[in-house]
Symmetry: C2
Subunit: 187 residues, 2 copies
């Protein structure tokens, strides 16, 4: 088996997700994942530190995407609008992967330790976006509130996108969620 | 030493917090906590499952406070207003304990595992308040958004209250934080 397996990471992710759904996260071993993917454990550990990281791979990039988008937003863009634009860029990466996003959410919802991890990632995203807003000269508490409110909008939209059998895109649900937040705060 | 030590829980909490600040959470043992408090380990475990629970004691009550307040809000109260009223009741329990709240935050900020735990508690609060809103007939996604936005308002106010040396009350900072959120979402 060659050192560089094309598509190895994706195969490992797919196999891991399937096994986590079938048997539970705790019960699944790295050996079972590599067996199903037809790859070696060595290859697994070239891509992931442990079986938990399979679920959180790529989140550093998402965070960077968000931060760069805010830093690069036009000067006249309001703080919350800049945050939502950034989250729309992040959302675009999920649109084609609804089924695996759904499987991932099922696994995370069943395990408090994974839920805590997921919440920390979301909190890190909010915190990094608040930083990026301050870098644009937005004062506190507006920077933190815009970032936290944006993440709330994203979170609620994401849950609906995963949970509902409809045809609406994540992007559309984010716009909708933002409209509802505006109505709720104006009320 | 008698079975019922008056004020034992508070003494253990105070001793634990001091030690967590001085030596770090990981480095502190239950034996050190009980030594400093002048109590036995048996007494410790009558009050807390482990040394982590000392930091999260009473959170189930806070959650209940929030849920009951929303259920009991007047019929004409808008969803976000009901959430913020509930959070003001929760805030009232903290006003007299700013110094210990500050110490607690220092300990949590230094330990990712504790941060994850804290975020899960906040997420549980948001989720329980969204449930309480749905119980009042508030539809989705407004129920979830009002609850998440309220928790964001609380979180930002709490961080300022703990971080700033000023004289403003937590209650006042929550009102201020809500005004800023309204401005940011109207913008």
């Amino acid at each position: 088996m060659g050192r560089w397996e094309p598509g190895a990471r994706e195969r490992l992710q797919r196999a891991a997700l399937e096994l986590y759904v079938e048997r539970g996260f705790e019960q699944t071993t790295v050996a079972e994942i590599t067996n199903r993917a037809g790859l070696t454990e060595r290859t697994f550990f070239r891509h992931f530190a442990d079986k938990r990281e399979v679920l959180f791979y790529g989140q550093a990039e998402l965070l960077e995407t968000g931060v760069y988008a805010i830093a690069g937003a036009s000067e006249t863009t309001a703080p919350l609008a800049a945050v939502v634009e950034a989250l729309q860029l992040i959302a675009a990466r999920f649109e084609e992967r609804r089924e695996s996003a759904r499987q991932r959410q099922t696994v995370i919802a069943a395990n408090p330790g994974l839920q805590e991890r997921e919440l920390l990632k979301l909190a890190s995203l909010a915190s990094a976006m608040a930083d990026a807003l301050r870098g644009r000269g937005v004062a506190e508490p507006t920077a933190s509130l815009a970032a936290e409110a944006g993440v709330a909008v994203f979170k609620v939209a994401f849950e609906h996108w995963i949970g509902e059998p409809g045809e609406r895109t994540l992007s559309d649900l984010i716009r909708d969620s933002l409209d509802h937040l505006r109505a709720a705060t104006a009320g």
